[in-house]
Symmetry: C2
Subunit: 265 residues, 2 copies
């Protein structure tokens, strides 16, 4: 069991920021990554659909020997994590929201925390609930930012246009909060422009937070790989494998072996 | 047969701009509209997937008595129109690309025509082919504009940010062309900001062009409805019917009866 891979999934490329963080702190682990590129974006879909898609993908990863599943998508975590945990009780399943919330509560002094994400993530109030489970006194200020994902996917992560969009979405946060959760796995690529605008506000990137959390779970369950530097990454996508391979580099920071196309979902 | 409805489909809301044009020039026709909201956007997907989705939807519309099908989506027209025509030979099936191309060739004096659209539409070169079928001497200048759809769906159809994006995509067209095809059914909502930037360039809105074409086909095939002012619109969506109902008003310019959710695709 120990030497089996960790399964990670997201609606598309964004979850590769989580893979990047995992590779850094868990160099002995192999990873199966599933990007549901035929059905992205999840952030504008209903709860029912996201649960249905997440169940299919978790099934696929388990059939392919995953010893643990990381839901590297904020929307899927918000909508489907509890259902996944109830349906697959034999392996640990973790999502990005809880580790990000814990990290933010540690970083915040004022207990006023901002959360940005997709429409579905923000409407679900999953971060509000998670943050208040950590500390009832935390005040949550949230904002949906639907144009951030298309800007990242267009590669427009700097320049006047994205600066205006950052200002449009984030102006209300200034002077209100001391910590902000980047509640979407695409957003780490906007960290420089967001930081430039919000200045002194701490930014919590949930990719690093979940990687640290994954490591602690593996240790607790005695599931750490014993293969030194195995660190293999195998990717599966539901559409456009070559596009994934090409753009994936931007998210992962290294080249990607061409993913397998899974087209029978 | 005559009094049966016209079937119209699109990946989401955009095709309602075609419905609006149809209602204006064909007030006696009833319309079935199918918006594939669970699987939008089509513009970033592969040809195989778009053909599969379009076939499912055409089947659905025919089972629901459509006497004609209008593919009110540029991407689906580019990728799937020929396959649809070959598979359903009993009723007329028309797409947005040919009527838009004919209109543009009539409007252009310099025979230098610009086309803007999604990544999939532009990569397919469907407009290049259609325009050169009309007139071999036409020179086509095309540009993919992937941020236009998210801006329209966010309702940001005016202001500094969209002006910058318009400039970013359309600068190269200035002084090159005298006519530009808005090759995506979302783009008519950006007509004012685009016109403001490109000034003297004629804009061809394929929604009006296809409505006129549909009328001529109905007359030719003796399929015009004899029910005076029937003009009913029934909508079907694959996800989030209430959101469709709410946002649909912006595209249609009038209120929409709540659509039926089709979730067995």
């Amino acid at each position: 069991m120990k030497n089996k891979p960790i399964g990670v999934f997201d609606s598309g490329l964004g979850g590769l920021t989580v893979v990047k963080a995992l590779k850094e702190i868990l160099p002995n682990e192999s990873i199966l990554y599933f990007g549901d590129t035929a059905r992205l974006p999840y952030g504008v879909k209903s709860r029912d659909l996201i649960i249905q898609y997440s169940m299919q993908i978790a099934n696929f990863l388990i059939k392919n020997d995953a010893k643990m599943i990381i839901v590297a998508c904020n929307t899927a975590t918000a909508m489907a994590l509890e259902v996944l945990k109830n349906n697959f009780k034999d392996i640990p399943i973790i999502g990005v929201i809880e580790p990000g919330s814990i990290q933010a509560s540690l970083d915040s002094k004022s207990k006023k925390i901002g959360v940005i994400g997709t429409v579905a993530t923000i409407n679900s109030k999953a971060y509000d609930i998670a943050l208040n489970l950590v500390d009832k006194e935390i005040q949550v200020f949230s904002k949906e930012c639907p144009l951030f994902v298309p800007f990242v996917e267009e590669g427009m992560v700097e320049g006047e246009a994205i600066n205006l969009i950052v200002e449009h979405y984030l102006s209300s946060f200034k002077n209100n909060i001391d910590t902000m959760i980047l509640g979407c796995t695409h957003y780490p690529l906007l960290k420089p422009v967001i930081k430039d605008f919000v200045k002194d506000i701490n930014l919590v990137d949930s990719a690093s937070a979940i990687a640290t959390h994954a490591k602690s779970i593996l240790i607790k369950k005695s599931l750490m790989s014993e293969v030194v530097n195995s660190n293999e990454l195998e990717c599966f996508v539901t559409d456009l494998p070559r596009k994934f391979e090409k753009l994936g580099e931007i998210f992962l920071g290294e080249t990607i072996k061409q993913p397998q196309l899974i087209d029978d979902f």
